[in-house]
Amino acid sequence: MGSRDLSLYIGPTGMGSQIEAAVESTQLVVEETTAAGVGSLDDETSPDCIVTDHDPPERDCFELLEAVPPEIPVVLAPSGGSSSLATRGLRAGAETYLDPTTCEDGAAAIAAEINRITAERYRNDDRIERFTSLVSHELRSPIQTAKSGLDLARTECDSHYLDNVAETIDQLDQLIDNLVDELKHDEIAVEMDAVDLAAVVEETWADRTGATLSVESELPTIEAERSRLRQLLDNVFRNSVKHGGDGTTVRIGVIESQDGSDDTVGLYIADNGPGIEPDRREDIFDYGYTGSANGTGFGLAIVSEIVEAFDWEISVTESGDGGARFELHNVKEF
Protein backbone atom coordinates (compact mmCIF):
# COMPACT_ATOMS: atom_id res chain seq x y z
CA MET A 1 0.00 0.00 0.00
CA GLY A 2 1.24 3.49 -0.74
CA SER A 3 2.15 6.38 1.51
CA ARG A 4 -1.14 8.12 1.91
CA ASP A 5 -1.35 11.70 0.68
CA LEU A 6 1.63 11.41 -1.63
CA SER A 7 1.72 11.37 -5.42
CA LEU A 8 4.60 11.91 -7.81
CA TYR A 9 4.71 13.97 -10.99
CA ILE A 10 7.63 13.62 -13.38
CA GLY A 11 7.71 16.51 -15.80
CA PRO A 12 8.42 20.22 -16.14
CA THR A 13 8.31 22.16 -12.86
CA GLY A 14 5.86 24.74 -14.28
CA MET A 15 3.29 22.08 -15.10
CA GLY A 16 3.98 20.38 -11.77
CA SER A 17 3.12 23.58 -9.88
CA GLN A 18 -0.16 23.96 -11.77
CA ILE A 19 -1.13 20.36 -11.03
CA GLU A 20 -0.14 20.76 -7.39
CA ALA A 21 -2.51 23.71 -7.05
CA ALA A 22 -5.40 21.59 -8.30
CA VAL A 23 -4.91 18.26 -6.50
CA GLU A 24 -6.97 17.52 -3.41
CA SER A 25 -5.86 15.86 -0.17
CA THR A 26 -2.58 14.63 -1.56
CA GLN A 27 0.91 16.04 -1.53
CA LEU A 28 2.46 16.22 -4.97
CA VAL A 29 6.18 15.64 -5.29
CA VAL A 30 7.52 17.06 -8.55
CA GLU A 31 10.67 15.70 -10.18
CA GLU A 32 12.10 17.03 -13.45
CA THR A 33 13.58 13.76 -14.73
CA THR A 34 12.76 10.06 -14.72
CA ALA A 35 16.07 9.33 -12.98
CA ALA A 36 15.20 11.73 -10.14
CA GLY A 37 11.67 10.32 -9.94
CA VAL A 38 12.87 6.73 -9.74
CA GLY A 39 15.51 7.82 -7.22
CA SER A 40 12.81 9.22 -4.95
CA LEU A 41 11.07 5.84 -4.77
CA ASP A 42 12.41 4.10 -1.75
CA ASP A 43 10.87 2.01 0.97
CA GLU A 44 9.68 5.07 2.88
CA THR A 45 8.03 6.87 -0.03
CA SER A 46 5.83 4.71 -2.12
CA PRO A 47 3.39 7.08 -3.80
CA ASP A 48 -0.26 6.25 -4.37
CA CYS A 49 0.06 7.38 -7.97
CA ILE A 50 2.73 8.53 -10.45
CA VAL A 51 2.07 10.79 -13.41
CA THR A 52 4.81 11.08 -16.00
CA ASP A 53 5.52 13.18 -19.03
CA HIS A 54 7.40 11.51 -21.90
CA ASP A 55 10.20 13.55 -23.39
CA PRO A 56 13.30 11.39 -23.82
CA PRO A 57 16.04 11.17 -22.85
CA GLU A 58 15.38 13.11 -19.56
CA ARG A 59 11.85 11.88 -19.19
CA ASP A 60 11.29 8.36 -20.42
CA CYS A 61 8.01 6.74 -19.46
CA PHE A 62 9.25 3.28 -20.47
CA GLU A 63 12.27 3.54 -18.20
CA LEU A 64 9.90 4.56 -15.41
CA LEU A 65 7.41 1.76 -16.06
CA GLU A 66 10.22 -0.75 -15.82
CA ALA A 67 11.42 0.60 -12.49
CA VAL A 68 8.09 1.10 -10.72
CA PRO A 69 6.50 -1.74 -8.74
CA PRO A 70 3.33 -2.92 -10.49
CA GLU A 71 1.05 -2.01 -7.60
CA ILE A 72 1.72 1.73 -8.09
CA PRO A 73 -0.52 3.08 -10.85
CA VAL A 74 1.27 5.15 -13.49
CA VAL A 75 -0.55 7.74 -15.59
CA LEU A 76 1.15 8.56 -18.86
CA ALA A 77 0.53 12.23 -19.60
CA PRO A 78 2.95 13.32 -22.33
CA SER A 79 3.20 16.92 -23.49
CA GLY A 80 3.61 15.63 -27.03
CA GLY A 81 1.41 12.57 -27.36
CA SER A 82 0.46 10.19 -30.12
CA SER A 83 -1.75 7.14 -30.47
CA SER A 84 1.36 5.00 -30.95
CA LEU A 85 2.87 6.26 -27.69
CA ALA A 86 -0.45 5.65 -25.94
CA THR A 87 -0.58 2.05 -27.17
CA ARG A 88 3.03 1.32 -26.27
CA GLY A 89 2.69 2.99 -22.85
CA LEU A 90 -0.44 1.04 -21.94
CA ARG A 91 1.18 -2.18 -23.13
CA ALA A 92 4.21 -1.41 -20.97
CA GLY A 93 1.98 -1.18 -17.89
CA ALA A 94 0.65 2.39 -17.66
CA GLU A 95 -2.76 2.46 -15.98
CA THR A 96 -4.14 5.28 -18.09
CA TYR A 97 -3.09 7.58 -20.87
CA LEU A 98 -4.03 11.22 -20.78
CA ASP A 99 -2.92 13.81 -23.32
CA PRO A 100 -3.08 17.16 -21.52
CA THR A 101 -2.72 19.09 -24.77
CA THR A 102 -6.14 17.88 -25.86
CA CYS A 103 -7.80 19.20 -22.69
CA GLU A 104 -8.93 22.78 -22.11
CA ASP A 105 -6.94 22.82 -18.87
CA GLY A 106 -4.29 20.07 -19.01
CA ALA A 107 -3.07 20.56 -15.43
CA ALA A 108 -6.62 20.37 -14.07
CA ALA A 109 -7.27 17.19 -16.06
CA ILE A 110 -4.14 15.53 -14.66
CA ALA A 111 -5.05 16.67 -11.14
CA ALA A 112 -8.54 15.20 -11.58
CA GLU A 113 -7.02 11.88 -12.60
CA ILE A 114 -4.72 11.88 -9.56
CA ASN A 115 -7.71 12.67 -7.33
CA ARG A 116 -9.72 9.83 -8.85
CA ILE A 117 -6.95 7.25 -8.47
CA THR A 118 -6.01 8.20 -4.92
CA ALA A 119 -9.66 8.33 -3.81
CA GLU A 120 -10.20 4.86 -5.22
CA ARG A 121 -7.13 3.50 -3.48
CA TYR A 122 -8.20 5.03 -0.16
CA ARG A 123 -11.67 3.53 -0.55
CA ASN A 124 -10.15 0.10 -1.16
CA ASP A 125 -7.73 0.44 1.75
CA ASP A 126 -10.53 1.55 4.07
CA ARG A 127 -12.78 -1.26 2.89
CA ILE A 128 -10.05 -3.84 3.54
CA GLU A 129 -9.32 -2.33 6.96
CA ARG A 130 -12.99 -2.39 7.96
CA PHE A 131 -13.44 -5.91 6.68
CA THR A 132 -10.31 -7.12 8.47
CA SER A 133 -11.44 -5.60 11.72
CA LEU A 134 -14.89 -7.17 11.28
CA VAL A 135 -13.47 -10.60 10.45
CA SER A 136 -11.05 -10.37 13.32
CA HIS A 137 -13.61 -9.37 15.94
CA GLU A 138 -16.66 -11.23 14.75
CA LEU A 139 -14.81 -14.52 14.35
CA ARG A 140 -12.47 -14.36 17.32
CA SER A 141 -15.23 -13.58 19.82
CA PRO A 142 -17.18 -16.80 19.17
CA ILE A 143 -13.90 -18.75 19.20
CA GLN A 144 -13.26 -17.39 22.69
CA THR A 145 -16.80 -18.32 23.73
CA ALA A 146 -16.33 -21.84 22.40
CA LYS A 147 -12.95 -22.21 24.16
CA SER A 148 -14.44 -20.90 27.40
CA GLY A 149 -17.41 -23.27 27.16
CA LEU A 150 -15.07 -26.15 26.52
CA ASP A 151 -12.92 -25.38 29.57
CA LEU A 152 -16.05 -25.06 31.72
CA ALA A 153 -17.40 -28.35 30.34
CA ARG A 154 -14.13 -30.10 31.23
CA THR A 155 -14.78 -29.30 34.90
CA GLU A 156 -18.01 -31.30 34.71
CA CYS A 157 -17.11 -34.23 32.50
CA ASP A 158 -14.25 -35.92 30.71
CA SER A 159 -14.71 -37.00 27.13
CA HIS A 160 -12.42 -37.48 24.16
CA TYR A 161 -15.02 -35.57 22.16
CA LEU A 162 -13.99 -32.47 24.09
CA ASP A 163 -10.41 -32.98 22.88
CA ASN A 164 -11.67 -33.22 19.31
CA VAL A 165 -13.64 -30.01 19.73
CA ALA A 166 -10.58 -28.31 21.23
CA GLU A 167 -8.50 -29.35 18.25
CA THR A 168 -11.10 -28.02 15.85
CA ILE A 169 -11.28 -24.72 17.68
CA ASP A 170 -7.49 -24.40 17.51
CA GLN A 171 -7.58 -25.01 13.77
CA LEU A 172 -10.27 -22.36 13.33
CA ASP A 173 -8.22 -19.97 15.42
CA GLN A 174 -5.17 -20.59 13.26
CA LEU A 175 -7.23 -20.17 10.12
CA ILE A 176 -8.55 -16.82 11.29
CA ASP A 177 -5.03 -15.65 12.20
CA ASN A 178 -3.84 -16.55 8.74
CA LEU A 179 -6.84 -14.97 7.07
CA VAL A 180 -6.46 -11.71 8.97
CA ASP A 181 -2.77 -11.70 8.21
CA GLU A 182 -3.48 -12.15 4.53
CA LEU A 183 -6.02 -9.33 4.53
CA LYS A 184 -3.65 -6.99 6.31
CA HIS A 185 -0.68 -7.71 4.12
CA ASP A 186 -1.58 -8.20 0.49
CA GLU A 187 2.14 -8.38 -0.06
CA ILE A 188 4.60 -9.29 2.64
CA ALA A 189 6.94 -6.38 3.36
CA VAL A 190 9.93 -7.18 5.51
CA GLU A 191 12.66 -5.27 7.27
CA MET A 192 15.72 -7.46 7.45
CA ASP A 193 17.87 -7.33 10.54
CA ALA A 194 20.30 -9.50 12.50
CA VAL A 195 18.33 -12.30 14.14
CA ASP A 196 19.65 -14.91 16.55
CA LEU A 197 18.21 -18.02 14.90
CA ALA A 198 18.80 -20.25 17.93
CA ALA A 199 16.81 -17.90 20.18
CA VAL A 200 13.94 -17.61 17.70
CA VAL A 201 13.80 -21.39 17.24
CA GLU A 202 13.65 -21.84 21.01
CA GLU A 203 10.92 -19.21 21.45
CA THR A 204 8.85 -20.58 18.61
CA TRP A 205 9.04 -24.16 19.77
CA ALA A 206 8.24 -23.32 23.41
CA ASP A 207 5.15 -24.93 24.94
CA ARG A 208 4.80 -27.51 22.16
CA THR A 209 3.99 -30.71 23.97
CA GLY A 210 4.04 -34.29 22.75
CA ALA A 211 6.79 -33.62 20.21
CA THR A 212 10.53 -33.16 20.48
CA LEU A 213 12.82 -30.59 18.92
CA SER A 214 16.41 -31.51 18.25
CA VAL A 215 18.84 -28.73 17.31
CA GLU A 216 21.58 -30.60 15.49
CA SER A 217 24.14 -27.88 14.91
CA GLU A 218 25.04 -24.44 16.16
CA LEU A 219 22.52 -22.09 14.59
CA PRO A 220 23.95 -18.84 13.23
CA THR A 221 22.81 -15.23 13.45
CA ILE A 222 21.06 -14.58 10.17
CA GLU A 223 19.48 -11.75 8.23
CA ALA A 224 15.69 -11.93 8.55
CA GLU A 225 12.67 -10.22 10.07
CA ARG A 226 12.15 -11.69 13.50
CA SER A 227 8.33 -11.82 13.57
CA ARG A 228 8.10 -13.28 10.07
CA LEU A 229 10.82 -15.79 10.82
CA ARG A 230 8.84 -16.92 13.86
CA GLN A 231 5.75 -17.26 11.69
CA LEU A 232 7.71 -19.29 9.14
CA LEU A 233 9.17 -21.64 11.76
CA ASP A 234 5.87 -21.92 13.59
CA ASN A 235 4.05 -22.95 10.42
CA VAL A 236 6.68 -25.56 9.51
CA PHE A 237 6.82 -26.95 13.07
CA ARG A 238 3.03 -26.99 13.23
CA ASN A 239 2.88 -28.82 9.91
CA SER A 240 5.34 -31.47 11.11
CA VAL A 241 3.60 -32.04 14.43
CA LYS A 242 0.13 -32.09 12.84
CA HIS A 243 1.08 -34.79 10.37
CA GLY A 244 3.46 -36.70 12.63
CA GLY A 245 1.28 -36.63 15.73
CA ASP A 246 2.53 -37.36 19.23
CA GLY A 247 6.09 -38.61 19.29
CA THR A 248 7.16 -36.48 16.33
CA THR A 249 10.78 -35.42 16.41
CA VAL A 250 11.64 -32.28 14.50
CA ARG A 251 15.31 -31.77 13.71
CA ILE A 252 16.80 -28.45 12.69
CA GLY A 253 20.33 -27.67 11.63
CA VAL A 254 22.69 -26.05 9.18
CA ILE A 255 23.33 -27.65 5.79
CA GLU A 256 27.05 -27.93 5.34
CA SER A 257 28.11 -25.77 2.41
CA GLN A 258 29.70 -27.57 -0.54
CA ASP A 259 32.35 -24.96 -1.14
CA GLY A 260 31.85 -22.44 1.67
CA SER A 261 32.55 -19.68 -0.81
CA ASP A 262 29.81 -17.20 0.06
CA ASP A 263 28.16 -15.70 3.12
CA THR A 264 24.93 -17.65 2.80
CA VAL A 265 23.98 -20.84 4.58
CA GLY A 266 21.40 -23.53 4.13
CA LEU A 267 19.07 -24.71 6.88
CA TYR A 268 17.00 -27.83 7.18
CA ILE A 269 13.95 -28.68 9.22
CA ALA A 270 13.22 -32.40 9.08
CA ASP A 271 10.73 -34.65 10.82
CA ASN A 272 9.98 -38.33 11.24
CA GLY A 273 6.35 -38.03 10.15
CA PRO A 274 4.71 -39.65 7.13
CA GLY A 275 6.60 -37.43 4.66
CA ILE A 276 5.33 -35.82 1.47
CA GLU A 277 4.87 -37.82 -1.72
CA PRO A 278 7.21 -36.66 -4.52
CA ASP A 279 4.30 -35.71 -6.82
CA ARG A 280 2.80 -33.47 -4.14
CA ARG A 281 5.94 -31.56 -3.28
CA GLU A 282 5.33 -28.90 -5.91
CA ASP A 283 1.79 -28.22 -4.69
CA ILE A 284 2.20 -28.00 -0.95
CA PHE A 285 3.13 -24.32 -1.07
CA ASP A 286 -0.04 -23.34 -2.96
CA TYR A 287 -2.85 -21.54 -1.18
CA GLY A 288 -5.72 -23.84 -0.33
CA TYR A 289 -3.69 -27.01 -0.84
CA THR A 290 -3.82 -29.31 2.13
CA GLY A 291 -2.76 -32.86 2.68
CA SER A 292 -5.11 -33.53 5.56
CA ALA A 293 -8.84 -33.39 6.12
CA ASN A 294 -8.44 -30.81 8.86
CA GLY A 295 -5.75 -28.64 7.26
CA THR A 296 -6.38 -25.02 6.29
CA GLY A 297 -4.18 -24.81 3.21
CA PHE A 298 -2.64 -21.58 4.49
CA GLY A 299 0.37 -22.59 6.57
CA LEU A 300 2.94 -23.61 3.98
CA ALA A 301 1.64 -21.06 1.45
CA ILE A 302 2.50 -18.35 3.97
CA VAL A 303 5.88 -19.99 4.53
CA SER A 304 6.50 -19.76 0.81
CA GLU A 305 5.57 -16.06 0.75
CA ILE A 306 7.85 -15.27 3.66
CA VAL A 307 10.69 -17.18 2.01
CA GLU A 308 10.17 -15.11 -1.13
CA ALA A 309 10.08 -11.86 0.83
CA PHE A 310 13.35 -12.85 2.54
CA ASP A 311 14.83 -13.65 -0.88
CA TRP A 312 15.48 -17.22 0.25
CA GLU A 313 14.61 -20.46 -1.50
CA ILE A 314 12.71 -23.41 -0.12
CA SER A 315 12.43 -26.99 -1.22
CA VAL A 316 11.11 -30.18 0.29
CA THR A 317 12.58 -33.65 0.14
CA GLU A 318 12.49 -36.82 2.18
CA SER A 319 14.21 -36.91 5.55
CA GLY A 320 16.47 -39.71 6.72
CA ASP A 321 13.57 -41.07 8.80
CA GLY A 322 11.20 -41.11 5.84
CA GLY A 323 9.52 -37.88 6.95
CA ALA A 324 9.55 -34.45 5.36
CA ARG A 325 12.70 -32.38 5.09
CA PHE A 326 12.32 -28.68 4.31
CA GLU A 327 15.47 -26.99 3.10
CA LEU A 328 15.99 -23.24 3.15
CA HIS A 329 18.74 -21.87 0.96
CA ASN A 330 20.34 -18.49 0.31
CA VAL A 331 19.97 -17.54 3.98
CA LYS A 332 22.41 -14.71 4.64
CA GLU A 333 24.59 -14.95 7.73
CA PHE A 334 24.83 -11.67 9.59
Binding site: T132, S133, S136, H137, E138, R140, S141, I143, Q144, T145, K147, S148, G149, D151, L152, T155, I169, D173, V180, D207
Partner: protein, 189 residues
Protein backbone atom coordinates in the same frame (compact mmCIF):
# COMPACT_ATOMS: atom_id res chain seq x y z
CA UNK B 1 -0.96 -16.86 51.28
CA UNK B 2 -3.85 -16.30 53.68
CA UNK B 3 -7.39 -15.58 52.50
CA UNK B 4 -6.96 -11.93 53.55
CA UNK B 5 -3.80 -11.57 51.42
CA UNK B 6 -5.46 -12.81 48.27
CA UNK B 7 -5.77 -10.16 45.64
CA UNK B 8 -9.13 -9.40 44.08
CA UNK B 9 -9.71 -9.48 40.34
CA UNK B 10 -12.82 -7.95 38.80
CA UNK B 11 -13.72 -9.75 35.56
CA UNK B 12 -15.88 -7.81 33.10
CA UNK B 13 -17.18 -9.46 29.93
CA UNK B 14 -20.66 -9.39 28.43
CA UNK B 15 -20.34 -13.08 27.46
CA UNK B 16 -21.24 -14.88 30.65
CA UNK B 17 -19.53 -18.11 29.65
CA UNK B 18 -16.30 -16.26 28.84
CA UNK B 19 -16.37 -14.41 32.17
CA UNK B 20 -17.02 -17.68 34.00
CA UNK B 21 -14.07 -19.36 32.30
CA UNK B 22 -11.75 -16.51 33.34
CA UNK B 23 -13.05 -16.97 36.86
CA UNK B 24 -12.27 -20.67 36.62
CA UNK B 25 -8.69 -19.93 35.48
CA UNK B 26 -8.05 -17.46 38.29
CA UNK B 27 -10.05 -18.64 41.27
CA UNK B 28 -7.32 -20.84 42.75
CA UNK B 29 -5.04 -17.87 43.32
CA UNK B 30 -7.30 -14.85 43.46
CA UNK B 31 -10.63 -13.62 44.78
CA UNK B 32 -12.79 -13.03 41.73
CA UNK B 33 -15.85 -10.91 41.04
CA UNK B 34 -17.73 -11.15 37.74
CA UNK B 35 -19.72 -8.37 36.10
CA UNK B 36 -21.35 -8.62 32.70
CA UNK B 37 -21.45 -4.94 31.69
CA UNK B 38 -19.32 -1.81 31.90
CA UNK B 39 -21.93 0.02 33.97
CA UNK B 40 -22.15 -2.79 36.54
CA UNK B 41 -18.35 -2.86 36.70
CA UNK B 42 -18.17 0.84 37.54
CA UNK B 43 -20.78 0.41 40.28
CA UNK B 44 -18.79 -2.50 41.66
CA UNK B 45 -15.60 -0.44 41.65
CA UNK B 46 -17.38 2.29 43.57
CA UNK B 47 -18.30 -0.14 46.33
CA UNK B 48 -15.46 -2.66 46.50
CA UNK B 49 -11.72 -2.53 46.56
CA UNK B 50 -10.17 -4.50 43.75
CA UNK B 51 -6.54 -5.02 42.77
CA UNK B 52 -6.98 -5.71 39.07
CA UNK B 53 -9.67 -5.32 36.44
CA UNK B 54 -9.78 -7.75 33.53
CA UNK B 55 -12.09 -6.19 30.99
CA UNK B 56 -13.46 -6.87 27.53
CA UNK B 57 -12.94 -3.94 25.20
CA UNK B 58 -16.05 -4.16 23.07
CA UNK B 59 -19.28 -4.61 25.01
CA UNK B 60 -22.83 -3.44 24.34
CA UNK B 61 -23.68 -0.27 26.24
CA UNK B 62 -20.65 1.05 28.06
CA UNK B 63 -17.54 -0.25 26.32
CA UNK B 64 -14.35 -1.34 28.03
CA UNK B 65 -12.63 1.76 26.60
CA UNK B 66 -15.11 4.03 28.39
CA UNK B 67 -14.75 2.10 31.65
CA UNK B 68 -10.95 2.38 31.66
CA UNK B 69 -11.22 6.09 30.83
CA UNK B 70 -13.37 6.52 33.95
CA UNK B 71 -10.93 4.48 36.00
CA UNK B 72 -8.12 6.70 34.76
CA UNK B 73 -10.01 9.96 35.46
CA UNK B 74 -11.01 8.82 38.92
CA UNK B 75 -7.37 8.07 39.68
CA UNK B 76 -8.17 4.58 40.86
CA UNK B 77 -5.13 2.62 41.91
CA UNK B 78 -5.23 -0.84 40.43
CA UNK B 79 -4.02 -2.69 37.37
CA UNK B 80 -6.15 -2.97 34.24
CA UNK B 81 -5.80 -5.71 31.63
CA UNK B 82 -7.83 -5.56 28.43
CA UNK B 83 -8.89 -8.87 26.93
CA UNK B 84 -10.43 -8.32 23.56
CA UNK B 85 -11.07 -9.67 20.11
CA UNK B 86 -10.19 -6.25 18.69
CA UNK B 87 -6.75 -6.35 17.10
CA UNK B 88 -4.45 -3.89 18.83
CA UNK B 89 -3.96 -0.67 16.91
CA UNK B 90 -1.77 2.35 17.55
CA UNK B 91 -4.48 3.80 19.83
CA UNK B 92 -3.54 1.38 22.61
CA UNK B 93 -0.54 3.63 23.32
CA UNK B 94 -2.86 6.16 24.95
CA UNK B 95 -5.08 3.57 26.56
CA UNK B 96 -4.72 3.59 30.35
CA UNK B 97 -4.21 -0.15 30.74
CA UNK B 98 -1.35 -2.30 31.99
CA UNK B 99 -1.83 -5.28 29.69
CA UNK B 100 -3.55 -6.15 26.41
CA UNK B 101 -4.54 -9.65 25.38
CA UNK B 102 -6.12 -10.64 22.09
CA UNK B 103 -8.91 -13.22 22.19
CA UNK B 104 -9.03 -16.13 22.14
CA UNK B 105 -6.83 -16.50 25.21
CA UNK B 106 -5.79 -19.69 26.89
CA UNK B 107 -5.70 -20.26 30.63
CA UNK B 108 -1.91 -19.89 30.65
CA UNK B 109 -1.97 -16.63 28.71
CA UNK B 110 -4.59 -15.15 30.99
CA UNK B 111 -2.88 -16.23 34.21
CA UNK B 112 0.49 -14.97 32.87
CA UNK B 113 -0.98 -11.58 31.98
CA UNK B 114 -2.52 -11.18 35.43
CA UNK B 115 0.69 -12.25 37.19
CA UNK B 116 2.70 -9.91 35.02
CA UNK B 117 0.40 -6.95 35.76
CA UNK B 118 0.78 -7.60 39.49
CA UNK B 119 4.52 -7.90 39.07
CA UNK B 120 4.64 -4.53 37.31
CA UNK B 121 2.56 -3.06 40.13
CA UNK B 122 4.94 -4.49 42.71
CA UNK B 123 7.92 -3.22 40.75
CA UNK B 124 6.45 0.30 40.61
CA UNK B 125 5.85 0.26 44.37
CA UNK B 126 9.45 -0.79 44.97
CA UNK B 127 10.81 1.94 42.74
CA UNK B 128 8.66 4.59 44.45
CA UNK B 129 9.84 3.44 47.87
CA UNK B 130 13.47 3.28 46.72
CA UNK B 131 13.26 6.80 45.29
CA UNK B 132 12.01 8.11 48.63
CA UNK B 133 14.97 6.52 50.44
CA UNK B 134 17.33 7.74 47.77
CA UNK B 135 16.15 11.37 48.19
CA UNK B 136 16.81 11.19 51.92
CA UNK B 137 20.21 9.62 51.27
CA UNK B 138 21.14 12.49 48.92
CA UNK B 139 20.08 15.12 51.44
CA UNK B 140 22.03 13.52 54.26
CA UNK B 141 25.20 12.94 52.24
CA UNK B 142 25.24 16.57 51.13
CA UNK B 143 24.67 17.76 54.70
CA UNK B 144 27.20 15.59 56.55
CA UNK B 145 30.63 14.17 55.87
CA UNK B 146 30.94 10.46 55.28
CA UNK B 147 32.83 10.12 58.58
CA UNK B 148 30.02 11.77 60.51
CA UNK B 149 27.45 9.59 58.79
CA UNK B 150 29.37 6.37 59.31
CA UNK B 151 28.92 6.83 63.05
CA UNK B 152 25.18 7.17 62.79
CA UNK B 153 23.46 3.85 63.18
CA UNK B 154 20.25 4.97 61.52
CA UNK B 155 22.18 6.06 58.41
CA UNK B 156 24.00 2.74 58.06
CA UNK B 157 20.60 1.06 58.39
CA UNK B 158 19.37 3.26 55.57
CA UNK B 159 22.29 2.18 53.40
CA UNK B 160 21.63 -1.46 54.14
CA UNK B 161 17.93 -0.99 53.42
CA UNK B 162 18.73 0.61 50.06
CA UNK B 163 21.07 -2.24 49.17
CA UNK B 164 18.38 -4.78 50.00
CA UNK B 165 15.88 -2.90 47.90
CA UNK B 166 18.27 -2.73 44.95
CA UNK B 167 18.59 -6.51 45.09
CA UNK B 168 14.81 -6.92 45.33
CA UNK B 169 14.28 -4.56 42.39
CA UNK B 170 16.78 -6.53 40.29
CA UNK B 171 15.11 -9.81 41.30
CA UNK B 172 11.68 -8.49 40.39
CA UNK B 173 12.89 -7.23 37.02
CA UNK B 174 14.43 -10.63 36.32
CA UNK B 175 11.07 -12.34 36.98
CA UNK B 176 9.51 -10.88 33.86
CA UNK B 177 9.39 -13.83 31.51
CA UNK B 178 9.92 -11.60 28.48
CA UNK B 179 13.66 -10.95 28.39
CA UNK B 180 13.21 -7.61 26.57
CA UNK B 181 10.91 -6.33 29.30
CA UNK B 182 13.26 -7.67 31.93
CA UNK B 183 16.21 -5.86 30.33
CA UNK B 184 14.20 -2.65 30.02
CA UNK B 185 13.29 -2.70 33.72
CA UNK B 186 16.86 -3.51 34.67
CA UNK B 187 18.04 -0.45 32.75
CA UNK B 188 15.44 1.76 34.45
CA UNK B 189 16.82 1.37 37.90
Amino acid sequence: MTEEDRKTVLIVDDEEMVAESYELYLQDDYETIVELSGGAALMELDQREVDLVLIDRRMPGMSGDVVVDHIDKWDMDFQVVMVTAVDPDIDIIDMPCDGYLTKPVSEDELVDAVERAFLIDHYEDLIAEYNQLSEKYEVLTSQFSSRELSNKKRFTELEAQMEEMEAEIADTAAQFSDSKLSDAFSRLH
